[in-house]
């Protein structure tokens, strides 16, 4: 399924660039912690969240989010599509998965400009001790080509075909 776009605003062409953002956590070795966040919102039918920081995490296999967001979206997690235990921060958490829509917004947080796609999100109980959304491989990195550079202090999001167009079809040796 091709990502849909907002009909309300003229779409800025890809790539969409996102400057790294300072993390609310404290400094490490007296330096600010800058992380690769993109702005997303979650949608279920007529309900949507506000824009949220989504942490791009190439080491995560799924999109994970706080179940507080599911509650706000009116999602009944008792009718989940599957559940898995995840180990996060030395603790185990139960993620209950539902397929919903997500919107990617540009870095300036223009609320009416977005690219929308569908993905399975694992909602984790009481998981908002720090933030709300983690964007992993299945559902995010298989939908977009994401280039991150801490040197440039920015990440670029493009259509998923861009990787193959740039590097060719990568095959195992």
């Amino acid at each position: 399924m091709s990502p849909s776009t907002s009909a309300l605003a003229e779409q800025e062409p890809f790539p969409w660039l996102y400057p790294y953002r300072e993390d609310p956590q404290h400094t490490r070795l007296d330096q600010p912690i800058l992380r690769p966040f993109v702005q997303v919102s979650l949608v279920n039918g007529d309900e949507s969240t506000t824009m949220l920081d989504g942490l791009v995490d190439t080491g995560a296999d799924a999109i994970l989010a706080s179940d507080l967001l599911a509650d706000l979206l009116g999602i009944d997690l008792a009718e989940h599509e599957g559940q898995t235990q995840h180990a996060i921060g030395g603790r185990t958490h139960l993620a209950r998965y539902k397929t919903i829509s997500l919107r990617l917004h540009p870095h300036d947080g223009e609320i009416d400009e977005y690219r929308e796609w569908h993905a399975q999100v694992g909602f984790i109980e009481d998981w908002h001790s720090y933030s709300f959304v983690l964007l992993g491989s299945v559902g995010f990195l298989d939908r977009w080509t994401v280039t991150a550079s801490r040197f440039a202090q920015a990440i670029a999001v493009e259509q998923r075909e861009t990787f193959d167009n740039r590097f060719g079809l990568v095959e195992a040796a």
Binding site: L17, P19, Y20, R21, E22, P24, Q25, H26, R28, P32, I33, L34, Q39, T49, T50, M51, L52, D53, L55, D57, G59, A60, L64, L68, L69, L72, I88, G89, H107, D108, G109, E110, I111, D112, H128, S129, Y130, S131, F132, L134, A152, Q153, A154
Partner: protein, 63 residues
């Protein structure tokens, strides 16, 4: 690009939302629901998360 910086001092223990363009905190509350509700529908406002206290450990990712 220049990173978006935010001065989180004074907001420890609170959930915050910032202006996506400047990084300035525009909403803060200890209850995440209140921040999510106040931020809803506001252009350029993005909910960031909770500002930890100084004695809390640094998460590798979201923790």
């Amino acid at each position: 690009m220049e990173p978006i910086r935010t001065d989180f001092r004074g907001y420890e223990g609170q959930y915050v939302a910032t202006d996506a363009r400047t990084g300035k905190i525009v909403i803060a509350d200890e209850d995440p629901r209140i921040v999510l509700e106040k931020a809803k529908g506001r252009n350029h406002v993005v909910v960031r998360g909770r500002v930890p206290h100084a004695d809390e450990p640094i998460y590798v990712g979201l923790g």
